[in-house]
Symmetry: C2
């Protein structure tokens, strides 16, 4: 039931880009992401390109280039990222909604294992498809603020001259995400449990 390193790296990088967007940092270079997250730079480069091809991020080439999210973090579900990098969420192919695959068992309709794994799949997807990148970013930045840890990416790394620069991203103003409080109340051990802010 593992998430691959690649998937982990992809998500960590996306979360960073989400934080960067939050603090109006328009571009982040692969090198900076890799350094902060302790990810092999060339490997991350590969991953970023995969995500670019999928439309999750956009890039600016050339000197002082970098990556940013292609749109609001609230519209990227965690599940979709994992599906992109690691494939279906389902533990076995015969319960996958996105990439169903017939299994070798003689009678699928009377397979108790399948029934159980369907529940597991639904539990996983129920979490990973419900929460967006914005939610994870939100939770992360809140916790950092609460603990007086400065948010990363506040300073552009290479602003060669001094001060005001044109923004690549239109200001999104207030976050567009539906606040967590208004969502389906979690049952057990959800993000909320980790954050006294959210009382359910």
């Amino acid at each position: 039931m593992k998430l691959s390193k690649k998937g982990e790296y992809a998500l960590r990088a996306l979360i960073d880009l989400g934080i960067a967007a939050e603090v109006d940092r328009e571009l982040v270079q692969v090198a900076e992401l890799a350094e902060k997250e302790l990810i092999p730079i060339k490997f991350l480069e590969q991953i970023m390109q995969e995500m670019k091809a999928a439309g999750l991020v956009v890039s600016q080439r050339g000197k002082f280039g970098g990556y940013r999210l292609s749109g609001p973090a609230s519209e990227i579900s965690i599940g979709s990222v994992i599906r992109l990098i690691d494939g279906p969420l389902a533990p076995i192919g015969c319960v996958s909604h996105t990439v169903y695959e017939k299994c070798s068992c003689p009678d699928e309709t009377h397979c108790g294992l399948r029934m159980l794994m369907l529940d597991v799949r639904n539990a996983i997807a129920g979490i990973l498809d419900r929460y967006s990148l914005a939610d994870v970013v939100d939770v992360t930045t809140r916790k950092m603020k609460r603990n007086n840890i400065p948010l990363p990416f506040s300073e552009s790394r290479h602003p060669p001259s001094g001060s005001a620069r044109c923004r690549l991203l239109p200001s999104r103003g207030a976050r567009a995400t539906v606040p967590l409080e208004q969502r389906l109340a979690p049952v057990e051990g959800l993000l909320s449990n980790l954050l006294p802010d959210y009382t359910i």
Copy 2:
């Protein structure tokens, strides 16, 4: 988030042994299990030995030997089987309860991904540790009965002479498992949903 073939085979074999116990079949040979479940026999042999070493099943060597569950199916949790064969249930090491492993991220306490994955781990473990082999066997046999499908393993494959044979297993009489109805009510897509028997 995959369950390995090995894990799948292990569970399918255990479910079969559970059904076998239910119909008072005392021993099942690897060959029979493999044939029924379309599992490569030599591979299953290996798996059975691993499970034997872990104490999940016991074997009878020699002619007309075979395997059976070492105890009541109600005392084998699905989670423990998967942990044995595939390792921890957690998607990443830093949220594993059984085999914690420090992850490479710079600040574990402010890692949003980790918080999320902890929830995923809890969701998975919440299912797989809650349900026992007996539950899965139960659900399977009920469905088969409802659809008038004869339970497998009703006939011992090699009863060379005719009729009554001494039982290796003491009759367990009524099942010792706590019925599903009395358990924690599931929220979404649990086994119950697949079985109109259980109305929640």
